[in-house]
């Protein structure tokens, strides 16, 4: 039974430099990295390789001490050249110098009909060892799913409404069969439906429209309509005791390829976008690519901030840093470390604002205006003052400020009662953007989730 949900609340951040639907001829990155910090909750990585080891694409690199069966695998074949550590010897990056020709670890391969005959246990084992299990995220908490769980349903959002987001339909245009295969594999894990959530507006790629025996839901509205958490809330809100899984479209395709071709295929199309990119477009590379090749001779200027992911939820990385496991977007925006004379009083038309307070005139520009935003915080942190704003960008039946205050007060009962199980950071990212008082809303949400997990 399909659902159609029209959302009104939210806010589109229309940034300049959207990726054109073409693929660059850029040289492929030489190094790739596995970053334990990409995986939420992976506090104790156990390394399986040392500097100097050679690995194949799909060779396990590390696992979580508290989830021993879930392997994090190398995206490419090559040599482990560095294990970068931070404070207290925390593992930050395992860098791999890639071979020219990728060699793969081999797993069992199937076709669409034969995969239907394998058991959940066999499929699970291949996914765990083949490095694709981390694509399965469980709600509540937004962490890597536990292999022993059976979810009530599986949700896949096929469109991304966040700023500069890559188009999943385009990024997976050659992976139609793999996507269908991935769905077949995922079907083994739940008695409930698999929800494939699509955008009402705009054409739906055949990658998604041709998938059979799933529940297709349609959504419309501004960001965060594409967030899977928002979609779940409107299809079947997560109540206490519920457990559902979410997978990104790329995750589904990579799971599919593991069964279709029997290899850990981390190749992907990555969008390189943002106002500071000369030629914003897609690049063919692998998960965890070093961004140096992607921005080489491709920047308008050098004082920029590179972000793995989108500007709302992404992570700031160095110019020779690495894309995250879950990210298929490199956003490049101007660094905003300049003071501005009477910046709090000046009329501003070029800096996007959700608000219309005195002098903020971006609302006059209309919806099609593309903005060039910097990383400046445009103000300093303060206590909560303004009310009723977060609610306007969160299309959920949740009182966000009350939830955040419950988290700050470490009030477990209220966190639960106010809906902590229904949200993860990305769902409240817009609240952080529009916040007059500049709170780290997403960090607070994660703190709350960790309290619930450990409490």
């Amino acid at each position: 039974m399909s659902k159609i949900v029209k959302l009104k609340k939210g806010f589109d951040i229309n940034l300049a430099g959207k990726a054109a639907k073409k693929i660059a001829n850029s040289p492929i990155s030489e190094t790739f990295a596995v970053k334990p910090t990409d995986f939420v909750g992976l506090e104790r990585p156990k390394l399986l390789v040392n500097e100097g080891d050679t690995v194949k694409a799909g060779t396990p690199i590390l696992y979580n001490k508290f989830q021993e069966n879930v392997m994090i695998c190398s995206p490419v074949s090559g040599e482990v050249i560095e294990v970068k550590r931070g404070d207290k010897r925390k593992v930050l990056e395992i860098k791999i110098l890639a071979d020219k020709e990728i060699e793969y670890e081999h797993f069992d391969s199937f076709n669409i009909s034969s995969v239907k005959n394998i058991s959940r246990q066999d499929a699970q084992k291949q996914m765990l060892n083949g490095g694709v299990w981390p694509h399965i995220i469980q709600r509540p908490y937004g962490v890597i799913a536990k292999e022993e769980d059976t979810p009530k349903a599986i949700y896949i959002s096929t469109f991304d409404t966040s700023p500069l987001a890559a188009d999943w339909g385009y990024a997976l245009k050659d992976d139609e069969e793999a996507f269908q295969m991935g769905i077949e594999v995922l079907r083994k894990f739940t008695q409930g439906p698999i929800h494939l959530n699509q955008n009402i507006n705009g054409e739906v790629s055949s990658v998604f429209s041709n998938v059979t025996e799933i529940q297709q839901n349609k959504f419309s509205g501004p960001h965060p309509a594409g967030n899977v958490g928002i979609q779940i809330h409107h299809i079947a809100p997560i109540a206490k005791g519920d457990l559902v899984w979410t997978v990104s479209p790329f995750g589904v395709a990579q799971i599919g390829k593991l069964f279709l071709n029997g290899v850990h295929d981390a190749s992907r199309l990555v969008a390189v976008a943002g106002s500071e990119v000369k030629d914003p477009q897609y690049h063919k590379t692998f998960t965890g690519a070093c961004v140096d090749r992607l921005i080489e001779d491709n920047l308008q200027q050098n004082h920029v901030r590179c972000i793995s992911g989108n500007v709302l939820t992404g992570e700031c990385i160095e110019k020779n840093g690495y894309l995250g496991f879950y990210d298929n977007l490199l956003s490049v925006i101007p660094e905003g470390d300049q003071q501005e004379f009477l910046g709090w009083l000046k009329p501003k038309k070029e800096v996007l604002s959700f608000h219309k307070a005195f002098g903020l005139m971006s609302f006059l520009n209309g919806k099609n205006k593309e903005y060039k935003l910097t990383s400046n915080t445009n103000g300093e942190p303060r206590a909560f003052v303004q009310t009723g704003v977060f609610e306007k960008v969160l299309p959920m039946d949740i009182y966000p400020v009350y939830l955040l205050k419950a988290i700050m007060a470490e009030d477990y009962d209220n966190m639960e009662a106010l809906g902590i199980f229904e949200v993860i950071e990305e769902d409240l990212a817009l609240c952080e953007y529009v916040d007059v008082s500049k709170h780290d809303v997403q960090r607070i949400v994660r703190d709350g989730i960790e309290l619930m997990q450990n409490g």
């Binding site: 951040i13 003071q339 004379f341 709090w344 307070a357 005195f358 009723g388 009350y402 106010l418």
Partner: protein
């Protein structure tokens, strides 16, 4: 501007950790961020771009929304003075917007504004230094609100004292802007009202500046007139219509005609007299989204509803005051627009805002009509509902929790 930036940059080490004036870092920071919005950039994680708004700008918007009331108030102080001393016998806009009125008004109003900002600023700065937190922008608004809700004859030392009390007891003891329970400006006014009642009630609404008023001038506010006539048992409307203050043709009709009260050529607290200017402020607040239209609208609606209920009851003369008169008399409009909408002390949920606003309006009229001690109700109504706002929100949020609980499977 590079020049200014360099000066600040040079002084900075003195105020930073280990510097000579380390203690006063937040004073320096306040000055610096006032001149230059800081070069802070987003952290490594979390949003990488932020909205253009900040608290300073938001507060500034409220100050700008108050400017019509302030300017009108300045003219009106002069205007009332002229009427009281008999030098003005014709009303109307030409007589109102008059250079002499402005100069006279400014002579009495600006010192109040200055003292309020100075006293409040000093408290903010001291607390910031002691408690080691940034200086709160909230005072931009409070410093302007307080002068607008006191009579033009108020002694300056009382302004200073009330401001200190309001900021310190109303706000800082709770942890500063955003943490307070009561509206700071209303707290300051309540302090004056109970500590120095003779300077804030009675014949204090006209700045005579040592001149004696002419015999035909009463100087009473509309609410006081209404109250008096209800005591003597005559019709309030008749009582109001008998006041003319020797002024022909104010902004239409009699001195206390609906129209004249709406426009605001009447005695009262500096900023409260003109309902029209308060509505202009409301337009700015609503247009910019800084003030909640739900609260403003529901205060007016609540007051009108309560006035209508009293009309139907009609047990005494005050109850018979036409409901729409309540909207333009006294400080209801100013309070609805600038006091009730204070986001920190108001209800925070959408449903809560409707209830909160409506109750303020109803309580204001209830206090005006039924309570014999206080001719004006908006101050107490706002403070009372400030205290109840969290309770209103509690029940609204509780219903949200119940919906969620109903879905739980374990």
């Amino acid at each position: 501007m590079k020049f200014l930036e360099n000066i600040l940059e040079k002084q900075k080490p003195l105020f930073q950790k280990g510097g000579k004036f380390e203690k006063f870092y937040y004073l320096f920071e306040a000055g610096e961020t006032f001149l230059f919005s800081p070069a802070h950039t987003a952290g490594k994680k979390g949003v990488q771009v932020r909205d253009a708004i900040d608290l300073k700008r938001m507060m500034m918007t409220v100050v700008i929304a108050m400017i019509p009331c302030l300017i009108w108030g300045i003219f009106n102080v002069g205007y009332q003075h002229q009427i009281a001393t008999g030098s003005l016998t014709e009303g109307g806009f030409a007589a109102f917007f008059n250079w002499d009125n402005f100069l006279f008004g400014a002579r009495w109003v600006l010192p109040i504004v200055l003292v309020s900002y100075a006293a409040g600023g000093a408290v903010e700065a001291t607390v910031a230094v002691i408690r080691k937190h940034p200086i709160n922008e909230g005072f931009l608004v409070t410093g302007m609100l307080i002068p607008l809700i006191v009579p033009p004859t108020i002694p300056l030392w009382q302004v200073a004292l009330a401001t200190v009390f309001g900021v310190l007891i109303g706000k800082e003891v709770f942890g500063g802007t955003g943490m307070n329970i009561l509206n700071v400006a209303m707290t300051a006014r309540a302090f004056l009202y109970f500590a120095y009642p003779s300077q804030i009630s009675g014949e204090v609404w006209t700045q005579l500046a040592d001149k004696t008023p002419i015999d035909a001038y009463s100087g009473a506010t509309a609410l006081a007139v209404a109250y008096d006539s209800s005591i003597s048992g005559t019709s309030v409307q008749q009582g109001l219509s008998e006041v003319n203050n020797a002024l022909a043709a104010p902004f239409g009709g009699e001195f206390f005609s609906f129209q004249n009260m709406l426009i605001g050529g009447i005695p009262g607290s500096i900023g409260e007299t003109s309902t029209l200017m308060a509505l202009l402020g409301a337009l700015i607040l609503i247009g910019t989204g800084v003030g909640s239209w739900k609260i403003i609208f529901s205060v007016f609606a609540g007051a009108f509803a309560m006035g209508t209920i009293f009309n139907l009851a009609g047990a005494n003369e005050f109850m018979n005051v036409p409901a729409e008169y309540h909207l333009v008399m006294g400080g209801l409009a100013f309070g609805a627009v600038f006091m009730a909408t204070d986001p920190v002390s108001a209800a925070q949920t959408d449903v809560g805002k409707w209830i909160y606003g409506a109750l303020i309006g109803m309580l204001t009229v209830l206090i005006r009509v039924v309570n014999p001690a206080y001719p004006e109700g908006i101050m107490l109504a706002v403070l009372f509902m400030n205290v109840f706002a969290p309770l209103i929100d509690y029940y609204v949020v509780e219903s949200n929790k119940k919906r969620r609980l109903a879905r739980a499977t374990v």
